[in-house]
Each structure stands twice: as structure tokens, then as C-alpha cells.
Symmetry: C2
DNA sequence: TGCTGGCACTCGGTCCGCGCGAGTGCCAGG
DNA sequence: CCTGGCACTCGCGCGGACCGAGTGCCAGCA
């Protein structure tokens, strides 16, 4: 129907206007700024309907309208045209990420880049251990009864743990152990490592068995939450922009939630690669995020995401732009990790 | 002189009162809350002198007085009695830090702990590479012309770099190379590594020389700023407390400066072990920090600090408490790193 | 000489009342 | 079904008045 179509355009205009001006938008301003082809009075009627249906609301009687979470949701779902990045932006991405020297560096640059592109808080997850493969396992003797286990994954993550071994070991034994472990685990997905452990202990030379068991146990421990997932956060300064406006009174809890990491990790758990997920306002379970939106996507080539990244900002954000930025950065990060 | 002594007490009272209430403090309130033994009128006279000398100031005529940076400085310098931590706090420290599983974990817990104890922004520096010693060097072949160099220090830091090697290598060669490098570097301070490189290349077997040179070069590269120093920041949510009050308009720049890291690292560069450094307001060079104070100390046993940690907050902070907390956490971190 | 109580003065914060303007809903007409 | 007109509502900003905290100064007292 023609009406529905126009109402959609009205809603879209309201969202766009509100996002850019941060002022409740009235019928006259809409008619003036957007070429809707109808008079303010007609727009008012449409707005009344939109309000009844819950897409917009007015903060008080004689103010303009503001999109509700439902309004944003509708807007985002109908976002057909993904705003392509400008040439300058593409260039900035390359410039920013090239020359990264290791994983930490890649993710650090990514988070800064994303924060800068979107002017929001950026969040980047380290590649999940359990979906990474072992590149190398190293054992460094600390004393005769303590070994340092160093795990290096194909994504460049390095984890280390001290292993208390049940029997005293000598250099030769450690070398043997190292060979055994690497033979067994190198190239294997960590998520499947637990399956191998039993067999490995079984088939190991008798004098190595307690050692293999101890080291394997420690290895599996690193795969459990929360140490398996790590997060880099950047651009929190961007929150301070219009904090009072966007997050009335909820600024501090929001920062706390971000530092908590767990909250964000939970959001991130659902992301798939290449499909951008947008979570708007009240859709977020955590209370501190009910005034915020979260745009996220998985990165990493292949069917399963190695990790996620995204941005957090006020519901009043430039969804189209942020989605594009998040997607672009994820693609670059995926490439960078694949080629290292 | 009796006067000077009383004036000092007045200044101290002003600082304490202002820190706890965040209201400019007047003569009457002072007389009522602190047992100075004199009347408000006398206190007024003292305050006039203190103001003339630049220790306090009044935001506007007919308001109370507020300490100036100079006033805080004087207060801090005369802080004889370090407030000892409460038993509960000591317990919290132990509980918080025990069970840390690796360096990242130790520092992460420390920063959270410090933020919680002081209710300020906490900052912890990773152990400086150049002052750490090599525990182990590992080489993992990525392809015949690329090696992954993994450096493990005695403080538990792990750094990795990809080394492009000039000639194709085989597994045997890599093993030889690894042995050579570990023989040369294990146990050596990284700061002194550059001295060794020339000799090492010289004395290496001819076929290893280009490899040793390439790997050593990469090793030395990791020692230059900014990758040599890393920072963990936590408790930024604490800034949001009275951001408007404490940092009028400078909230965002402050967050930016903290994220910048470089600024903080520069401040941290000067810290020595065991001596707490306090940098107040305008004493900080960086503009965004002119309304903030920085309390820091080095951690690590021995004469030279392995790294620094501290807190950043408004000049209006509990210096005695924060100094005590920073010192206590530094001691614990030092112990933890020493025993691993 | 130094402390004290009293007093006049200053000045920022708060409250109140008012007018303005943006925005709305409704209605009659095209 | 759209449009222009109109009466109505309210939040915001502005200006004035009041209030109270705090000060500086001064004369008196130990």
C-alpha cells in the first residue's frame, strides 16, 4: 500500500534526522528537510500512526518524536543499502593495520581503528582458543618439578601456564615430552584436544605418562572460561561525547559493564562470520546496556568465526555506517590472521 | 613558630575536608569539624595568609576555600604518617591476587584490585622488556623462509615476532640455531642483549651467521618503543563518578590521554622502586592531566623497577590512602613475579 | 601581640513567574 | 485521502528576588 510505504519513509527520515541532530524531530522539520512530497499535516497523521504502533514516541507533549527501540529495529531490518566505505576510509584501514607486528598489535590497531571510524566504543575479541589450532607447544624447565608450558596457536595467540609435574624431570625427559606433545597436538584444533588426551596418555612411554597427563590437564584448563576469551576495548573516550544526553545516569554502569568483559563476551558469543548482528537497546539483557546498541560480527575465514568484534554506542547511532565499518574491519582482520 | 604550625593544621584540615566533601570549605565548618582550638575568626586570618601564599584559593567571593595544586603538594610532602591498610584490605589483596595463572592474569587482577581499593583509574605497566632477562627463546618454522621467534622472559612476558630469514632453512638448522641462541641469551638481561649480538654473529658457525643476524635483529627490534612497554588500564568507570565536578569539560581528553598510553608511560618512566611518586595537577606536563594527580611506584625486587603501577584521579583525592594502596599492591606484584 | 565576637557586605544558587515557540491534534474543505 | 488553518499544550529560557554561606574588618579583651 502506498501509505505503508510512505510511513516507512517517514520513519526512516525520523531516524536519520534524530541520529544526526539529536533533537526530537517534528513534522515541519521533516517536511522541510526530507523530500517526502506531502505536507506537514499528513506527516503528522503518519506519525500518530507510527506512535500508536510503537515505532516512535514523544518525550513530552509538545516536543517532536524520537524513535523507540522498535523503531530502530525496524529501520535496521529494512536497511537494504549498506553504505559503502569511502576511499579515504579504505585507505585509512590499510594504513592502520599494515605493519602490525604480532597478534596483540593487530587487535590493538583494529580496536583503535574501529573506534576512530565509528566514533563509538570498539571491542575486539581475541581468537577463541578452542577454535584455533596448535602451532607449537613449548616446555621450559623452571625447576626439576615445574615446567612452563607455552602454547602457540595458528592465530598467533600465546598462552603460558606453569605445570607442576609429579616427578622430577631432567632435560632429556623434557625434550622427549616436548616431542611427544608436539607430534600429537601440532595442527590439531584445540577444541578437539580433549578427545586426544586419553589416547595420548595411553600410548605414551610409561615413564612419560604422568608428565603427559599433567601437561595435558593444564592445557585443557586454559580452554575453559574465562581465560580462553580475552577482549580488547578502545575508544571509551567516545562515550564521553554526549554521555549526559545519550546515557542519562547510566554512564558509569555502562563503563563498568564494558570493563567487566563477561557481558560483552556473552553478546559476542552469538556472532557468526560475515553476518552482522545488531542488538538494540532493550534487546540487550544486561541492564547497563539497555540504552545502548551493539553492532558485531565474527571475523576469520571459514565457516566458524575465530572471534568477534564490534562497537557499542547509544541506540541513537549511525547504524548503516557502523555496520559497514565493523564488517570492513572484520574482513581485514580475518585476512591478516589468515596470512600469518 | 606556633602560628606556622597552626596554619599547617588548618591547611591539612582544609584538604581533608575538601577531599571528603567536595565542597569549598569555610572557616565555620572547619572550626566545627576539626578540633583546632581557635575560633572561626582566627581561622579566617590564617586562611587569608594561606591564600596569599598560594596554598588555597576561593572559587569566587563568598565561597569557601579550596586547596591549590601547591596546597596539595605541601600536604603530600608533609604526609608523615602513611595510613596503614586495614586487615580487610590486606585480605582483599591476597584473595584477589592469589590464584593468578600467568603474567597477564596477575596484572589484570592487580589493576582491578587497585581500581577497587582506590576508586580511581588504575594503571599497571608490563615488566619492561629491557630490564627483564631471557628465560627461553623459541623458534617455530612457519615456512622455509619464515620463522616465528618467541621470547619468554623471567617475568613471564612472552613476545613473538615473525622473522624473515635470508636463506631457506631446514628443521636441523633451526634446531641448531635455537641451541645457539639459547646458549647465548638465556639468563641475560635484554637491555644488554645488543652488546652480545656482534660477538655472537662473529662466533657462530658460518652457515648460521645470516640466520643469527636476522633473528638477533628482530629480537632487538622488540626492545624499542612502543612495543617494549605495555599498559593495562582499569577502573575508568570510577572517573565517571563526579566527572562533571572533578574534570569540568576535560573528561574526554583525559580518557583519550589514558588510552593513548604514551602519556602515562612517560609519567611512569621516572618511577623508582619503593619510593612513591606523586604528580599533582599542573605538575603534569600533558594538558589533559592538569586537573589530575598521578600516584605511582615501581614494582619488582632489586634496585631497578621492572615496571610501574599507579592510579590517576582528580587532584582532590585521598593521597594518604592511595599512596598506601599503590605501595601495597606493588609489593605484592613484586613478590608474585619474583616467585614465578 | 594575638585571639575573639560582632557586623556589614558580597555574591552565587535557587526558586518563581512569565512569555515564547515548537509541536500537536482536530476539523473543515478540496 | 491530502491540506491548510487554528486552538491548545508544555518545556525551556530568561530575569528578578530572596537567601545564606562566607568573608574582611574592627574594636575589645587576655
Amino acid at each position: 500500500m502506498a501509505h505503508d510505504d510512505r510511513r516507512l519513509r517517514v520513519l526512516r527520515a525520523i531516524v536519520q534526522d534524530y541520529v544526526s541532530t539529536n533533537d526530537p524531530v517534528g513534522s515541519k522539520a521533516l517536511a522541510a528537510r526530507y523530500d517526502l512530497g506531502v505536507s506537514p499535516a499528513t506527516i503528522r497523521n503518519d506519525m500518530a500512526v507510527l506512535e500508536e504502533e510503537g515505532y516512535i514516541t514523544q518525550p513530552h507533549t509538545s516536543a517532536g518524536r524520537v524513535p523507540t527501540d522498535k523503531g530502530y529495529r525496524f529501520f535496521v531490518d529494512r536497511l537494504s543499502a549498506i553504505k559503502p566505505l569511502s576511499a579515504a576510509e579504505r585507505k585509512a584501514i590499510e594504513k592502520f593495520l599494515d605493519g602490525a607486528v604480532d597478534l596483540h598489535d593487530v587487535l590493538g590497531r583494529s580496536v583503535r581503528l574501529l573506534a576512530q571510524l565509528t566514533r563509538q566504543v570498539a571491542v575486539v575479541q581475541y581468537p577463541t582458543l578452542s577454535r584455533s589450532a596448535v602451532r607449537h607447544l613449548e616446555l621450559v624447565p623452571l625447576s626439576t618439578s615445574r615446567l612452563l608450558l607455552v602454547l602457540i596457536t595458528d592465530t598467533g595467540r600465546v598462552e603460558q601456564r606453569v605445570v607442576e609435574v609429579p616427578v622430577d624431570t631432567e632435560a632429556d625427559t623434557v625434550a622427549e615430552l616436548r616431542t611427544t606433545l608436539n607430534a600429537a597436538f601440532t595442527g590439531a584444533k584445540l577444541g578437539e584436544a580433549s578427545d586426544k588426551v586419553a589416547d595420548l596418555v595411553e600410548s605414551a612411554a610409561p615413564h612419560l605418562r604422568p608428565l603427559v597427563a599433567a601437561v595435558s590437564a593444564t592445557l585443557l584448563e586454559t580452554l575453559v572460561e574465562p581465560s580462553e576469551d580475552r577482549l580488547v576495548i578502545g575508544g571509551t573516550a567516545n562515550l564521553a561525547q554526549g554521555s549526559a544526553l545519550d546515557f542519562p545516569g547510566t554512564f558509569r554502569p555502562l563503563l563498568e559493564a564494558l570493563e567487566e568483559q563477561v557481558v560483552v563476551l556473552r553478546l559476542m558469543a552469538e556472532v557468526g562470520p560475515s553476518t552482522v548482528t545488531v542488538s538494540i537497546g532493550e534487546e540487550n539483557e544486561h541492564e547497563a546496556l539497555t540504552a545502548a546498541s551493539f553492532v558485531s560480527v565474527g571475523y576469520g575465514s571459514g565457516d566458524q568465526a575465530l572471534g568477534g568484534l564490534g562497537v557499542v554506542g547509544p541506540t541513537r547511532m549511525d547504524y548503516a555506517g557502523n555496520i559497514a565499518a565493523v564488517r570492513a574491519v572484520a574482513r581485514y582482520v580475518g585476512h591478516l590472521l589468515a596470512e600469518s
